[in-house]
């Protein structure tokens, strides 16, 4: 698995939503502020031009007072903007103060305070605002207070959770141990590390605050005329939308611009802060763990030598390319015989996993494989095999048994999946078969395992279950991609014994991928050494044991394995 691109904290990475949102907000904000400085006269004074239609002088016409509707919308938007900013500022400051105070409070108090914050978050914000409006009455500052108070709990909870997480990080612990004062701890360590999520929260507070205020004005609990904001204008305009739709155009557009702007900024910030999402806007199809569900292998180089070999697994001239044409695997050819375990060793990035994934047709997005022949059993992997044929042809065992099972389903449901989907077995039949297979891989209580969920099991048990699932399909080719890397040594030995037993008891062909020459030497009949997408050397087990290698790279690998001398007591 390729490393995630490192995130550099503190540096804002611009992306399209962030740019669009910022531009929208900035343009609207500037327009609105300029308008409120210059157009207030036409927006508020009485004039003789009452109820005018659209004209060059009045782009959106005028109302019954003879006031310019566009000017009113812009000046009203300035009021909304200022109010939303004020409410956001109040709620952010109060929320952050409360949140950090909670985490610097004594434990007992902290627990109680956290609970209270949790509870207040569970009330609808608008309901809180209505309650406050009921107490304070309608008006501009009352509205700001109502919406600000309603938004505080969410910010407080976020801050409390963030500070909780940061408190446990090493550098904060160090700072505390070295006696850094509490205030400095907060300002220097806590706040900078919370900046990004808090910014996102700020954008969200602003946009929800804007809409909440307008909603309160709409139902008559907010700003009262002659004072006006966007909500007030909408509340007055919407009833006449059927006869004078122009009246709502201005306020609706402005509330949309401001709210979308804030939402996109929040989106952009979230994307910038989240490396999982940051990759997407870059449009770069990297080697990721995002495979397509059915990646067709190009048939361009379909070869006529296809049927040359009688081996169950044939690979000829396998090339794996990126979307930009760079090849990562440069024309591999090999075969695996019935009942043979072929080992593939090499460092990370040598292309061994890509080879395996090409054969399983599970290549990640953005990668394509080409070959002159690619065959497993009766199945031509270059053609268009059905799902069932594929399931019969190849089964895989993966590296990390902790993540290969669906955490939401019991193991029984997952292990019997292949049998039920492809073999048409009933649930009972499938369970019987899997139970036998589980017993076969030395699971002592298969029934209990089937009832368990993945997280209730040890890594070794999960990997054994994975093997049982792989065997259920009776595949022509079993691919084991570093199946023991994540396991303890003793547990790993057990897994290796199972693979060896499968080879001995069935005639399954096995492709065993590892970076550990020692393991390969123990298990495999034949070994391919890969480096930078090509096969450096092919060795028999005996040659490997004897250290009879020609490539300097293989030699280097051999030397990097500690105590390789072939007497690994544990693996006996």
């Amino acid at each position: 698995m390729a490393d995630q691109a490192a995130v550099r904290p503190g540096r804002l990475r611009w992306n399209p939503p962030l740019v669009v949102g910022t531009v929208l907000l900035a343009l609207t904000g500037v327009t609105v502020v300029i308008a409120s400085l210059t157009l207030r006269g036409t927006a508020e004074g009485l004039s003789a031009d009452t109820a005018q239609p659209v004209s060059a002088a009045h782009w959106l016409g005028t109302d019954d007072f003879g006031r310019d509707l566009l000017a009113r919308a812009l000046v009203g938007a300035q009021a909304s903007l200022v109010m939303a900013l004020a409410a956001t500022a109040i709620s952010m400051i109060a929320g952050v103060l409360i949140g950090t105070a909670i985490w610097t409070a004594p434990r007992r108090l902290r627990e109680v305070a956290l609970r209270i914050v949790e509870i207040t978050v569970s009330y609808p914000e608008l309901l809180i605002a209505v309650v406050i409006a009921a107490i304070l009455g309608a008006g501009r500052w009352q509205l700001v207070v109502a919406v600000a108070l309603a938004n505080i709990p969410a910010t407080a909870r976020l801050t409390a959770n963030l500070s909780g997480a940061i408190h446990q990080r090493d550098f904060v612990t160090t700072a505390r141990l070295t006696g850094v004062p509490r205030r400095a701890l907060i300002s220097r360590h806590l706040l900078p590390n919370m900046a990004e999520p808090l910014l996102i929260q700020l954008a969200a507070s602003f946009s929800t605050g804007l809409v909440a205020m307008s909603a309160l004005s709409f139902v008559g609990l907010g700003v009262q005329t002659p004072d006006y904001d966007l909500g007030r204008l909408l509340a007055d305009g919407l009833p006449s939308i059927y006869s004078r739709p122009l009246e709502v155009v201005g306020p609706t557009l402005l509330i949309l611009l401001l709210s979308i702007g804030a939402m996109l900024v929040g989106d952009g910030l979230a994307a910038a802060a989240d490396p999982r999402l940051a990759r997407r806007p870059a449009g770069r199809a990297a080697v990721t763990t995002r495979p397509r569900s059915a990646e067709p292998v190009p048939e361009s180089q379909q070869s006529e030598q296809q049927s040359e070999s009688s081996a169950p697994v044939v690979v000829r001239d396998l090339v794996v390319r990126r979307a930009d044409g760079t090849s990562l695997v440069h024309g591999l050819s090999f075969e695996i015989n019935r009942g043979e375990i072929l080992g593939v060793v090499g460092e990370s990035g040598s292309g061994k996993s890509l080879t395996a994934l090409s054969m399983a047709r599970l290549l990640p997005d953005g990668l394509t494989a080409e070959a002159s022949a690619l065959r497993t059993g009766e199945t031509d992997l270059l053609g268009r095999p059905s799902r069932r044929e594929l399931a019969d042809a190849v089964a895989m065992i993966y590296q990390d048994p902790g993540t290969t099972f669906n955490p939401a389903l019991r193991l029984g449901a997952q292990l019997t999946e292949v049998l039920r989907v492809h073999r048409g077995k009933s649930t009972v039949e499938a369970r019987t078969i899997i139970t036998d297979l589980l017993a076969g891989v030395h699971i002592t209580d298969p029934e209990r395992l089937m009832r368990s969920r993945p997280y209730e099991l040890s890594g070794g048990m999960r990997q054994r279950a994975m093997i049982a699932a792989a065997l259920a399909a009776e595949p022509a080719l079993l691919i084991a991609d570093e199946p023991t890397t994540a396991l303890d040594v003793t547990v790993a030995a057990g897994i290796l014994r199972e693979l060896a037993r499968i080879r001995d008891e069935t005639d399954t062909a096995t492709l065993f991928i590892s970076h550990d020459l020692g393991v390969v030497e123990e298990l495999c009949d034949r070994v391919l050494v890969m480096k930078d997408g090509v096969i450096v050397e092919e060795l028999s087990r005996e040659a490997l044991r004897a250290g009879d290698v020609s490539s300097p790279y293989t030699r280097m690998l051999l030397e990097s394995v500690p105590r390789l001398s072939g007497h690994g007591a544990v693996r006996r």
Binding site: L46, T50, F65
Partner: protein
């Protein structure tokens, strides 16, 4: 009778209806059954903008509550066209003087529990209204400020009302819904009466069948009811068997529902909304001036406008009636020359008595005037916008005005307290009696806190005398002369600034009609299939 509730199925593909109804019905589990498109054809569906404040007519507040009371309780007299009265529960009546009245009660009227309505039952109900203990806000409107004596003669089927102070408008008061006759069962259970839960309390054509506060009310026609009044133009068609009333504050929504055929009757104060029916020839529209608007000054001691007619004149000069009207009603309302519309008897029509619009005079009078409290009512866009207009012209004239916008309830309770929380308001005066005196006493005579009805607490002895004289005259001409004199004092003193009528448009579905008497819409005259 082909009144249809317009089955929705006609407008939607059937599968979609089935699907969505199944989904939504499942979701609305626990709600009433949903007979889609099969509503009874003799039901009228309408909405009020708020719940009836009470089902006790003496406690009723607000026009729509009066309308409901009018359905449930009959009055002694009823309003007819051209300011005339016709018999209701009374077949005939006589004003022996300005303070002595007698009414002959009809013999065929019954209560909703089948008790025949007698003269003494009527007297009991009126006595309760007049009793200060009842604390009805309508007592003084109906009976005037003096003491009241009500006597009954069951043998002759007559009721006599004697007043200590002359009050010629008493017969008109006997026609307002607030003076509706409550049957003995209701009088015996005041709380049940207010909640509408006493089945035998009703004397009118309808009873409360179902009341879900805040949600809906259903009124059912009494099958045995026969005491319909005989108007000058006889009613045709049949009264609706049921009236279903929902609650909705949003006028656009109500308009949409009428246009969609989901409602049969709506009342619209918003001219923009009423305008939407202009192109709908099928529906019936009735435009009335349901209230009048005028500026009132707080003239209590120490307030800026007390004893300062020149300031009040400045305010009057600042206001352009037509510009106000454009904001208030899109120019659809009539411009007033007094506290009541022109359709009222004895109303002043001499525009020269009013202060003309003169911004310069306004600026000269008001410039630098500090700290004026303007109270605005947010009841609807019209009132809110009207207050904005007043605020704007006073500010433009150089006065320093602070505006306090409050909801309808707070607005009226603040006014009713007298007090110092306001200096100037423009108010909507709903004159349910239909007599100018019932509006004049809002600005002339004893103040609210003194037990009167005068909001401004003005000190206008001349006007007060003229008003009393009018109320004491049985002769039409001398009565009007007195009331016109009272109005002249208002303009001389600039106690009020007349603004505009408050237009209300009633819209009914094609099959439904309602009678309108002058500016009064009597919902008890709703008829289906009328000619």
């Amino acid at each position: 009778m082909k009144h249809s509730s317009s089955p929705r199925t006609a407008r939607l593909p059937r599968t979609l209806v089935t699907l969505t109804s199944v989904v939504s019905l499942a979701a609305l589990a626990g709600c009433a059954a949903d007979p889609i498109g099969t509503g009874p054809t003799d039901t009228v569906r309408t909405v009020l903008n708020s719940d009836p404040s009470s089902f006790d007519p003496a406690e009723a507040q607000g026009q729509q509550t009066f309308q409901v009371a009018g359905l449930l309780y009959d009055t002694l007299l009823r309003r007819d066209s051209d300011a005339a009265l016709v018999g209701g529960l009374a077949t005939s009546w006589e004003a022996e003087s300005a303070s002595e009245f007698s009414f002959t009660i009809r013999s065929d009227a019954t209560c909703s529990d089948d008790t025949p309505i007698t003269a003494s039952m009527v007297a009991d109900s009126l006595r309760r209204l007049a009793d200060p203990e009842t604390e009805s806000t309508w007592r003084n409107l109906v009976f005037g400020l003096g003491t009241v004596e009500v006597t009954a003669d069951d043998a002759a089927s007559t009721v006599r009302i004697s007043l200590s102070e002359p009050f010629t408008t008493l017969p008109q008061g006997m026609a307002i819904a607030q003076s509706g006759i409550v049957c003995p069962a209701g009088l015996a259970d005041p709380e049940g009466l207010a909640a509408g839960t006493v089945p035998g309390a009703f004397s009118g054509p309808y009873t409360v069948e179902e009341a879900e506060q805040g949600l809906s009310y259903t009124f059912a026609l009494r099958s045995d009811y026969a005491a319909w009044p005989e108007f000058a133009t006889p009613l045709t068609g049949t009264p609706p068997n049921r009236i279903e009333v929902g609650i909705s504050t949003d006028q656009s929504t109500v308009a949409n529902q009428i246009l969609a055929g989901d409602l049969d009757l709506g009342q619209f104060a918003d001219p923009d909304v009423a305008e939407r029916f202009a192109s709908q020839p099928d529906v019936h529209q009735y435009q009335v001036t349901s209230a009048t608007t005028y500026v009132v000054f707080n003239q209590r001691e120490g307030r800026p406008f007390a004893d300062r007619p020149e300031l009040r004149r400045g305010v009057a000069s600042a206001i352009d009636q037509a510009a106000f009207n454009a904001v208030f009603s899109k120019g659809t309302a009539e411009l007033l020359t007094s506290v009541v519309p022109e359709s009222f008897a004895c109303v002043n029509t001499d525009r020269s008595l009013l202060q003309p619009h003169d911004p310069d005079a306004a600026a000269a009078a008001l410039s630098g005037l500090g700290d004026i409290k303007l109270m605005g009512n947010t009841a609807n866009r019209q009132y809110s916008g009207g207050a904005d207009y007043i605020y704007q012209v006073l500010t433009d004239a150089g006065a320093q005005v602070s505006m306090n916008k409050v909801d309808n309830a707070t607005f009226w309770s603040t006014l009713a307290e007298g007090g110092s929380d306001w200096d100037i308001v423009f108010l909507g005066d709903l004159n349910s009696v239909g007599a100018i005196s019932a509006s004049l006493d809002r600005v002339i005579g004893p103040s609210i806190e003194e037990g009167g009805r005068n909001y401004s607490a003005s000190d206008n002895p001349e006007g007060e005398a003229a008003l009393a004289e009018g109320l004491a005259s049985t002769d039409e001409a001398s009565r009007c002369a007195a009331f016109e004199q009272a109005q002249r004092t208002l303009f001389e003193r600039v106690d009020i600034v007349p603004l505009a009528g408050n237009p209300n448009t009633y819209v009914t579905s094609p099959d439904l009609t309602v009678s309108v008497f002058d500016d009064y819409v009597d919902l008890a005259t709703m008829r289906l299939g009328a000619a």
